[in-house]
């Protein structure tokens, strides 16, 4: 698709003052689009690949912004910009991998405007889909990224089901590894969804990346104290060190007793249509020493069952090594 340098096509913009007002608009207008920072949104509009008549900007709803201590954990409003998370002293001290994940997103300007909620709910970056091709995800009946001539270097090695696009978010694996809860509001009330269940793959619904049904809002993210202050690791590999989405990223948290790993969470992004929690690896790590051998076997186990496409075989060693490095880091940080 050519880059179009002119106006975005017309829409009606609403800026409700509270969550109820926003939910009402979403109920009233079938194709209403939720707008937070807009950094996922505007490309869709500029390319004419999505053309909603109604846009509901959450920007005036102040209660959706901010980082608050809550119980023995933290609650982050969905509209909080990523740069506030990256620079927040308590988040840096207790949940460093979330601060690092936020800092790994794009560029300072994108982080000043992009919200945590938008980063979580953002759509996939498969360029066939984003270019407006009528693929399965767009309601069509073909996957353009999985043909013998497709360019699919960035696509998935796990979880494909007709669609091979990946979850592109940097914050998502960190939130899965921290056992975060997503607070979802609809007109019938509020519910909490564990991060690991919030993201869905194409076998569940090929047109959505999350459980949100279009009439619901993500209002906050709650992070329990489970891994507060515990050893954490985040690493992202990308082509350029600014702007680029992850080729693979890893987020891990460890509870240790001396050299022994008592409990662990390991999640990997950009390898599947959802941030992928590696429960088998976590189970294998429990009770083991955080050492080189443990790291190696964790890496091997992590990529078991992967199904690379034509151009993304490199993601297997990349994912294996990132998981290994996460475990090895738990060892080096012990001394």
């Amino acid at each position: 698709m050519p880059v179009i340098n002119d106006m975005i096509p017309e829409f009606d913009l609403f800026q409700p003052a509270d969550v109820d007002g926003a939910l009402e608009l979403l109920a009233k207008h079938d194709d209403a689009w939720v707008l937070a920072g807009g950094l996922d949104t505007f490309d869709w509009f500029k390319d004419r690949a999505k053309r909603p008549d109604v846009v509901v900007d959450l920007g005036a709803i102040d209660q959706l912004r901010g980082i608050r201590e809550q119980g023995d954990g933290y609650e982050i409003g969905a509209l909080t910009p990523l740069s506030d998370i990256e620079n927040h002293e308590a988040i840096k001290a207790k949940f460093p991998m979330l601060a690092q994940a936020a800092q790994a997103v794009a560029t300072p300007q994108v982080r000043n405007q992009g919200t945590l909620g938008g980063n979580i709910v953002q759509d996939t970056r498969c360029w066939y889909y984003r270019g407006g091709w009528p693929c399965y995800r767009a309601g069509g009946n073909i996957c353009y990224a999985d043909t013998p001539t497709s360019m699919n270097r960035e696509h998935c090695i796990f979880g494909a089901s007709r669609c091979v696009a990946v979850s592109p978010s940097d914050s998502a694996p960190a939130l899965v590894a921290l056992d975060a809860m997503m607070v979802v509001r609809s007109r019938s009330g509020e519910r909490e969804v564990p991060a690991a269940d919030f993201f869905i793959g194409p076998s569940t619904d090929i047109t959505r990346m999350t459980v949100l049904n279009g009439r619901e809002l993500l209002v906050a993210i709650r992070i329990p104290s489970t891994f507060a202050g515990a050893h954490q690791y985040f690493e992202k590999v990308r082509d350029r060190n600014a702007w680029d989405f992850p080729l693979v990223n890893v987020a891990a948290a460890f509870k240790r007793n001396g050299a022994t790993i008592e409990d662990a969470r390991v999640a990997v992004g950009a390898v599947a249509p959802y941030p992928m929690r590696l429960e088998a690896v976590e189970a294998q790590l429990r009770g083991k020493n955080a050492d080189e051998a443990t790291g190696k076997s964790a890496g091997e186990l992590a990529i078991k069952g992967a199904k690379p496409l034509r151009h993304n075989g490199y993601k297997l060693p990349l994912m294996r090594n990132l998981v290994m490095r996460a475990v090895r880091d738990a060892q080096s940080a012990q001394a």
């Binding site: 880059v3 340098n5 002119d6 106006m7 975005i8 096509p9 017309e10 829409f11 009606d12 913009l13 609403f14 800026q15 707008l35 807009g38 950094l39 505007f42 490309d43 509009f45 500029k46 109604v54 846009v55 900007d57 920007g59 740069s83 794009a106 560029t107 300072p108 300007q109 994108v110 000043n112 405007q113 060190n241 600014a242 702007w243």
Partner: protein, 203 residues
């Protein structure tokens, strides 16, 4: 198309907007679907006629719902110092400050920054034409080659100098990582940033 209901004060406001919009005529093609009063407006949706705070001045302006800040600044307010490179949040040429923080003006709706303080490269010089430390530093170091990227880089340097006066070269590189310079002048740009820090600290 709905006939807009205009009150006297609204009509005067519109006149002001049109009179102030001489620069818009050359860019009329951009706004062909979105002209003053030509757009439908659903009940309860945002008011198009607003006053923006740009470089310390209040500027009345008519803004389409879908209009980006870069479009408003360049084609409605005549502030063409803000450049449009990619229009996709991928180059940094359009960087401006909103309440002191850097944003890509190509990728934010003008209606998202109503009521906030917008600063562009035109707003940097002092009341008597004194250069901002960053402008002085860029001159001293001959920081840019073609300088198409300069207004954007300069705005990020301004934010850096103000937020973190004692910054290191690495921190400057990090703060400027949301910009691309097609002339590849990064070393001289970083020299300028360091010099700007020195000037700011010594004044």
């Amino acid at each position: 198309m709905d006939e807009p209901t205009t009150s006297v004060s609204r009509r005067n406001f519109i006149k002001g907007v049109i009179a102030g919009g001489a620069t818009a005529s050359a860019s009329g093609y951009l706004f062909r679907q979105n002209g003053v009063l030509a757009q439908r407006s659903a009940p309860g949706s945002v008011e198009r006629l607003v006053t923006l705070n740009v470089n310390g001045q209040n500027r009345p302006v008519d803004i389409a719902h879908e209009e980006t800040l870069a479009m408003t600044l360049r084609y409605k307010l005549g502030l063409t110092g803000t450049k449009l490179g990619c229009d996709r949040a991928e180059c940094g040429a359009c960087t401006v400050l909103v309440d002191g923080r850097t944003h890509y003006a190509c990728s934010i709706l003008t209606h998202m920054v109503r009521g906030r303080e917008i600063k562009t490269v035109e707003g940097l010089e002092g009341p008597n034409g004194e250069l901002h430390p960053v402008q002085q530093a860029v001159m001293d170091e001959a920081g840019f080659q073609c300088a198409f990227c300069a207004p954007g880089f300069i705005m990020s340097m301004v934010a850096l100098v103000e937020d973190k006066p004692g910054f290191t070269r690495d921190e400057a590189a990090h703060a400027l990582s949301g910009h691309i310079c097609r002339c590849g002048d990064y070393n001289k740009i970083l020299n300028s940033a360091m010099r700007a820090g020195e000037i700011a600290r010594s004044t």
